[in-house]
């Protein structure tokens, strides 16, 4: 149920932290993330693999594995912190009711022995108490919305192409009309034309249903198709958040800068450049700025962890903007 806008921001995340236990030590996958999301807004989280993007999505949705070492912070949905809720309460009131998700490789996550229509109908039956008939009717409506012929409800996942399966996964997230949808790499395994098609569909849904999106991806070019704002994640932390227009033309953090320069462009003449080195291990991340080892602009100050500065109101975690 899409809530009517109030003065309160839709979603505010404060000091979100998620650490995992592993044989070699504690993995600091999400390490103190602050983020806000407004009504009808799409924020894109970009970063290299292993920077903690997916863990952040899991932390927001409370889809946690067993080896959690620490999980804390605030997830404030329209003024209410949902972190103190019990798992059962969270499941009934938040997950898939207020925040839904399209998981990574969703096209391969569909149940192979259930008709896709039944899978899309299920959240409606569980969370809204619809009868099977009504839920299926709703599922058909969702299929049309995401651009799948509605008689496909009777098909199985293997009878659909990759793009169609991805749309079905999206329909599954839409069916309860949540306020926020978390999309984890929604187009990375798809062909160019299918990708463009799905991005079109997402834009349309954002306009017509007024939903908000958190889009997690390493594909910066495609992410710009939906982004209102961009957040850059590096080694478990968010190093920059900015309005898409300003970010894509002039990123502030040296990492954002290099990340943008590494994107090959079809139009334009500058050849892409790669970022030397690798992201640090999240088990014992370096003290100070975590990007310092790869940063061409590092100086003495970088030995200390930078706070978030706000030049022109743009949050950036770098000493250059002190």
């Amino acid at each position: 149920m899409t809530t009517t806008p109030t003065s309160e921001t839709l979603l505010r995340i404060e000091k979100l932290l998620l650490h995992f236990r592993s044989r070699r030590g504690v993995v600091q996958a999400v390490d103190g993330v602050d983020l806000t999301l407004d009504y009808n807004e799409a924020i894109v989280i970009i970063g290299e693999s292993g920077c903690g993007k997916t863990s952040m999505a899991k932390a927001i949705l409370r889809l946690l594995p067993r080896n959690v070492e620490a999980y804390s912070g605030k997830v404030i949905l329209t003024g209410t912190d949902v972190m103190p809720m019990t798992d059962e309460q969270y499941r009934q009131e938040v997950r898939w009711v207020r925040i839904a998700a399209v998981p990574q490789a969703a096209m391969n996550a569909l149940n192979p022995v259930l008709r896709v229509g039944d899978q899309v109908a299920e959240p409606g039956m569980v969370h809204h108490g619809f009868s099977k008939e009504d839920a299926l009717k709703q599922a058909r409506k969702m299929f049309q919305l995401v651009g799948v012929p509605d008689d496909f409800v009777n098909r199985y996942a293997f009878e659909l192409s990759g793009g169609m399966r991805q749309r079905v996964a999206l329909a599954m997230a839409l069916v309860t009309s949540p306020d926020v949808i978390v999309l984890d790499e929604p187009t990375s395994a798809l062909d160019v034309l299918t990708q463009a098609n799905i991005m079109n569909q997402l834009k349309r849904i954002k306009q017509s249903m007024g939903m908000s999106f958190i889009l997690i991806t390493h594909d910066i070019a495609t992410s710009s198709e939906l982004a209102d704002r961009v957040a850059v994640m590096y080694a478990g932390q968010i190093v920059e958040v900015g309005d898409a227009h300003r970010f894509f033309t002039q990123p502030l953090h040296p990492y954002s800068h290099m990340l943008m320069a590494s994107v090959p462009r079809l139009r334009g003449t500058s050849a892409p450049e790669f970022i030397v080195g690798q992201p640090p291990s999240l088990i014992n991340p370096p003290a100070g700025c975590r990007f310092a080892a790869r940063c061409p602009k590092r100086f003495d100050r970088c030995a200390e962890e930078p706070p978030t500065f706000k030049p022109e109101g743009r949050p950036v975690k770098c000493w250059l903007y002190e």
Binding site: V192, A196, I220, T222, E225, M260, P264, L266, P272, F274
Partner: protein, 336 residues
């Protein structure tokens, strides 16, 4: 056989690989025996590749680009047409000659982790091609391994030799795959989506490495990809494939700057560059999905999705290659 020196040195401009009206069909069987038609994976493909030239094959999944490459590498037998490598017909080669031929062709797989045997360390992985090709002297093999590892910028070499694939990052794994392909000094390198599994920041690094090897060794490279934006920096020519056929081919700048075939135009329109204005517009995407290759559409295979469809022309006859500009071909009736 000894490791031969020199790849395509001094033979720039000459044709290394020539593909003539190539067809690769796979038979479909019903209940294990009855004939149920063919999958026309590659259906009438023509092109030449020069010594030391890099060409990109662009197409969506299922368009037959991998079948084309596997046939070129001698892994599938062509159903029709022929492949000439260095003037020799591939169809005529005996088993032994075929093995020798394969040592001239390097292959870089899409998924580096899946392509490397998990139970072998880097030294064993890189020795394997030389053992298979009869390099008996272990000292010689180790010399070559050191040389190639330095070329793919895996140094210090001794640190990497005892490592197993899971101990390497994705980029490093792909370097090992490239090193393995370089081991026998191939004349031709086939790279099948070499960077699609890697991070954006590593992609450019691996592609630059391939480009460097190509220039240094005058290696001919076939780079298979679905990502048009990487193509222009890493190849000289592009071939666009759709439903088993090459619909457009030309020099990189001509083809990207002035695409002729409606399918190529659609691909270019659908490829985004990072720009916030993208969020404000909808992209034009042709309706539908690529056709089944069992019963492909008559005439031009793109006609059911084409915005310039001309009834009674496009759906009747297969368009030949029209030379719209020098060295720029489009298989489309718009240019007749």
């Amino acid at each position: 056989m000894d490791v031969k020196a020199g790849n395509g040195d001094g033979r720039r401009g000459e044709v290394l690989l020539s593909v003539r009206d190539l067809r690769v069909w796979f038979e479909l069987r019903r209940f294990g025996f009855g004939h149920a038609g063919y999958v026309h994976a590659v259906d009438g493909v023509n092109f030449d590749l020069g010594y030391g030239e890099a060409v990109a094959v662009v197409g969506e999944s299922g368009c037959g680009k991998s079948s084309l490459m596997k046939t070129i590498m001698g892994l599938y037998r062509p159903t029709g047409g022929e492949i000439l490598f260095d003037g020799q017909k591939l169809n005529d080669l005996s088993g032994r000659e075929m093995r020798a031929y394969r040592s001239h062709v390097g292959y870089v797989q899409q998924d580096p982790y899946g392509a490397l045997p998990s139970f072998m360390n880097v030294r064993q992985i890189l020795q394997e091609p030389m053992i298979i090709n009869g390099v008996r002297d272990e000292a010689k093999r180790m010399d070559r391994i050191r040389q190639v590892l330095t070329e793919v910028k895996m140094s210090p070499v001794d640190e990497f030799l005892p490592k197993f694939p899971h101990m390497l990052s994705g980029g490093q794994q792909q370097r090992i795959v490239i090193a393995r392909a370089m081991m026998m000094e191939p004349k031709l390198m086939v790279a099948d989506e070499p960077v699609s599994m890697l991070d954006a920041s590593v992609r450019v690094e691996i592609l630059s490495l391939l480009r460097g090897l190509q220039e240094q060794h005058h290696l001919a490279v076939i780079y298979i990809t679905h990502d048009l934006s990487t193509v222009r920096y890493f190849s000289e020519r592009i071939m666009v494939m759709y439903a088993g056929q090459i619909v457009e081919k030309g020099k990189v700048d001509d083809l990207l700057g002035n695409p002729k075939h409606p399918y190529t135009q659609a691909l270019i329109d659908a490829t985004s560059d990072p720009d916030a204005r993208n969020a404000e517009v909808f992209r034009d995407v042709p309706p539908g999905e690529p056709p089944s290759l069992v019963r492909p559409p008559t005439g031009c295979r793109f006609h059911p999705r084409c915005p310039h469809f001309m009834p009674d022309v496009c759906d009747k006859e297969v368009p030949p290659d029209f030379e719209t500009e020098p060295q720029h071909f489009a298989a489309c009736w718009l240019y007749r």
